[in-house]
Every structure is written in C-alpha cells, then in structure tokens.
C-alpha cells in the first residue's frame, strides 16, 4: 500500500481519499494528506470543520466510509485481502494503535490513579515492562515534562496544565511513532497554555511525528513544518507556515 521503503520510515502517515459521514451529513470529504516521519503538522480550521474526526481516523478511534490511513505503510484498523479492506479484530487494532499516541482536549487522565500510575498503566498492562520498571519509566517521563515532584498526586490535585503534561507523558510511555494532539490547550486557562506548548515544542525537536489540531495560530506558525487548513470537511490549503499565512490562496 505504501510506496516508501521500510528502512526510511518511522512515523510516516498517509491519508488517502478519506471520507466520512454521520447519518448523511458529510464530515470529511476525500481528504488526502501525507505526513513525513518527524514532521510537525498543524491542522487549523473553524469549529465543526472535521479536525477532530480526521485526527481520530488516524488511529481508528473513528472508522472511515471510504479511503484508508496507514502509519509506516500499515493500515491501523483494517487489513487488505485482495481488493477489499476488512476491519481487524479488536485485539489487533489495539496493538496497532499503540504506535499512535493521543492527547485529548480534556486530558482524560484516569482519575483514580496517580500521575505515575496513569503513565505506567499501558506499558505494564501490555507487558512491555514489569511494575517496578513501569514506575521508573513513569518517573523518567514525568521529569521530562517537568513534574518530577507530582508522581504520587491524583489528577484532581493537579492544575489543568499539569494534567495535560501528565497526559502527554502517558501518551509517550508507549514510545509511539506518531503523536496526535486534539486542541491540547483549549481547556486551559490562558496562563497555563505556555507550559504545555513548551513541552510540545521540546517534542517537536526530538523527531517524533506530531499532528496537532490547534487554535493557537502563533504556535502553529512557530513549530509546524506544514499547516493544513480544513473547512467543511475539505482540505483547503496545505503548505509551510509562510505559504499559508503570508500568501494564502483562499
């Protein structure tokens, strides 16, 4: 399905001809997008334009009506047999999903687990590490997002900005090839936005593929290699920040 060779790929996302409707209302219309390994792409667009839906099709939190999405040449929710695509078994989908991390607008941390437990949950449950190593892993990631002192705090004892940083650390715990952010700062007080953007900025330098839905145009312009502008389920523009912001075609 992919034309790129295996060796060169780590976090290549290909979206081809993706369409999606909810009860007759078309939310995504023939979307095509290729995100190179290590690239940072920001998706902009008005509310209700289909940004979240597009992001969610990438790791099959949302199924598609037409088209396909691959990560490093591998379909996430489907397998190809002959000319047709078949939805994979749940177990297989779960395994493939771990290649793609998601950071949600509302954090969605597990409220009954501490910060460290939130982070270690998936790697331990998927038997990648044992419990003790899981804790070590969590502490290391918490240090990365500047929250070493909050390992044993419960989400409700943290500020929104701190919760979102824990959520980013949790998404990193499975060492995904691609990280998806759905308006990661929209639920935050203005003075807390900066600390979360700082963490994302650091990630951008490390070479993980990042796809970020955001309303922070200034931030998008600064960190993104390319900007995608969506409206009404159509991709209207794709280009470097300079192209999109300084000489927009629309």
């Amino acid at each position: 399905m992919s034309t790129t060779t295996e060796a060169a790929t780590r976090g290549l996302v290909e979206i081809r001809g993706v369409s999606k409707s909810y009860s007759g209302h078309e939310v995504l219309h023939d979307v095509n997008l290729t995100v190179q390994p290590g690239e940072v792409v920001a998706i902009l667009g008005p509310s209700g334009s289909g940004k979240s839906t597009l992001l969610r099709t990438i790791n099959h939190l949302e199924s598609v009506d037409a088209g396909w999405v691959t990560v490093d040449g591998q379909l996430i929710g489907y397998e190809q047999r002959g000319e047709r695509l078949f939805e994979l078994k749940e177990k297989e989908i779960l395994t493939r999903r771990t290649q793609v991390g998601v950071v949600f607008q509302n954090f969605n941390l597990f409220p009954h687990l501490t910060a460290a437990e939130n982070i270690a949950k998936a790697p331990v449950a998927l038997k990648r590490v044992n419990k003790a190593d899981g804790r070590e892993l969590a502490l290391g990631l918490l240090a990365k997002v500047g929250l070493s002192d909050k390992a044993d705090a419960y989400p409700r004892q943290l500020s929104g900005g701190q919760q979102q940083r824990v959520a980013i650390a949790r998404a990193l715990a499975l060492t995904p090839k691609v990280l998806l952010f759905d308006e990661p700062t929209s639920a935050l007080d203005p003075e807390l936005v900066g600390e979360v953007l700082d963490v994302i900025r650091d990630l951008a330098k490390l070479g993980t593929t990042l796809i970020i839905v955001t309303h922070e145009t200034g931030f998008a312009r600064e960190v993104a290699d390319r900007i995608v502008f969506i409206d009404g389920g159509h991709v209207l523009e794709v280009g470097t920040p300079v192209q999109v912001f300084e000489s927009p075609t629309q």
Binding site: L94, V102, F104, N108, A125
Partner: protein
C-alpha cells in the same frame, strides 16, 4: 453469600447488557426481566418445591428413564441451596441495574483514552471503568446487601434456620413474642451496623482521586477534635485554625 454471588452474577449481567454482542444482550435482558418480575417469596418456594415436580435431575438419554448421571432433586436443592439460589438470582437482577447505572456514570472520555492506549478489554473493564463506577455503585450496593440480610427472613417460609425463623420457633414455644422479636431486632441492627461501618471504609477506598482530600476516618476525626480541645485548654481565648481546615479541605453539600 447470596450477596456476593448475586453481585458477581449481577456484574456479569451488567457487562453483558452493555456489550456489543446482541446475543449476550438479549440473554441478560431476559434473565433480568424474568427475575425482576417474579417475587422473591414465590421464587424461593418454587426452588424448594422443585423436588416434588421433578424428583430427579440429571443427564440421561432423552425420552427414557435411564440416567447417565442423576441426583435426587431434594438432595441437590436443599433448603439452604434453595435459599441461596433464590436470593442470588433475585439479587443478581437488581444489582445488574445498579452496576449498569454505575458504569454509565463513567465519562466516555475514559473509554476513549483506554482505547487510544491500546489497553486490552479486561484491563479496561476491571482496572479503569469498574473502579470509577464503584463510587456510584457502592451506596446502592450496600443498601441492597442490607436489604438482602433482612430479606433472609423471607426464607423462614421454607423452615431454614435463619434469625427470624429461630425467633419464631422460640416464641411459639414460650409465648414471649415481644421480647424475642426485640432480640431479633437487636441482632438485625448489630449486623446492619457492622455492614454500614464496612461501607464507610470501602467507599473511602474508592474515593481516592475523586476528592482532593479524603474524609477523615472516625478515629482521625476524634484525634483532631481532641487536639483542638487541648489547644483551647492551653491558650484560652486564642482562636485556632486546627478545627477550621477540616471544613475547607473537602466539599460537602
């Protein structure tokens, strides 16, 4: 015992009703419909008297009297078993609804996050959803268990030696009706109180993370109260903050 069996079965029923499988859905719905419709008293009597209708239960060759494995129904379903069976099935139907309600109260975002992290189904159910659902399940669950405890008085109709039945037997013998009923009442109160205390600690356990500060246990509250009184004795007239923070720490209605 009927309580735990009932809740275990209830949990399975609730999960079945919430699952995507249409077969599991309809099986659990029918079970639930049937056992919620039949009065407990009738059920217990039916289970107990099943022996008169079908004297033997077992696996055999159809339409013949040959049994490969067979038991006398009476020995299989004793008085005790009839009580446990009736109470468990009855309880399962009710607890299934309580548990389903609890599961529905958990934010959909939790399922999404679990799915995005690739957590296997059993981890999602047992480690993410049920512990959060527990918070809204527990108050109702303890109500049900206490109800069940008192509901055991119903099985006295099949002459099983539970508390109320024993009290009846004794007062029929010595005519001391009121004193013996009072004794029974005191026992019920003691058992219920023990369960209520258990409820406090179990609920406190599952409140972790939901409240910024856990409510103090009675022991902690007593210690705090004593230390406030001591402080007052030491320096009469000076207000202390020790008693104040208990109110500001957690939100109460």
């Amino acid at each position: 015992m009927a309580g735990s069996l009932g809740f275990l079965l209830g949990t399975i029923l609730a999960l079945a009703r919430l699952s995507k499988s249409p077969i599991l859905n309809s099986v659990s719905w029918s079970f639930f419909w049937f056992f919620r419709s039949v009065p407990l008293l009738v059920q217990v009597l039916i289970w107990y008297n099943l022996g008169y209708l079908y004297p033997r239960l077992g696996f055999g060759i159809p339409f013949t009297d040959t049994y490969l494995v067979g038991f006398d129904t009476i020995t299989l379903i004793s008085q005790f078993a009839a009580a446990v069976l009736g109470l468990s099935l009855h309880q399962a139907a009710y607890s299934a609804e309580i548990i389903r309600g609890g599961i529905l109260s958990v934010d959909q975002g939790q399922l999404e996050a679990s799915a995005a992290l690739g957590l296997p189904r059993h981890v999602r159910v047992l480690q993410i959803i049920l512990p959060q659902a527990a918070r809204s399940i527990l108050p109702n669950a303890f109500n049900e268990i206490i109800g069940l405890l008192k509901g055991t008085s119903i099985v006295s109709v099949i002459a099983l030696g539970e508390l109320f039945y024993v009290a009846q037997v004794i007062y029929n013998r010595n005519q001391q009706v009121i004193p013996l009923l009072l004794v029974a009442v005191i026992w019920y109160i003691i058992l219920t109180t023990v369960l209520s205390i258990g409820q406090f600690y179990v609920e406190r356990h599952f409140a972790r993370g939901a409240e910024r500060v856990l409510p103090p246990t009675p022991l902690q509250a007593a210690r705090r109260w004593i230390s406030v009184q001591w402080a007052r004795l030491d320096e009469p007239g000076t207000p202390t903050s020790a008693g104040l923070d208990a109110k500001s720490e957690s939100f109460r209605l």
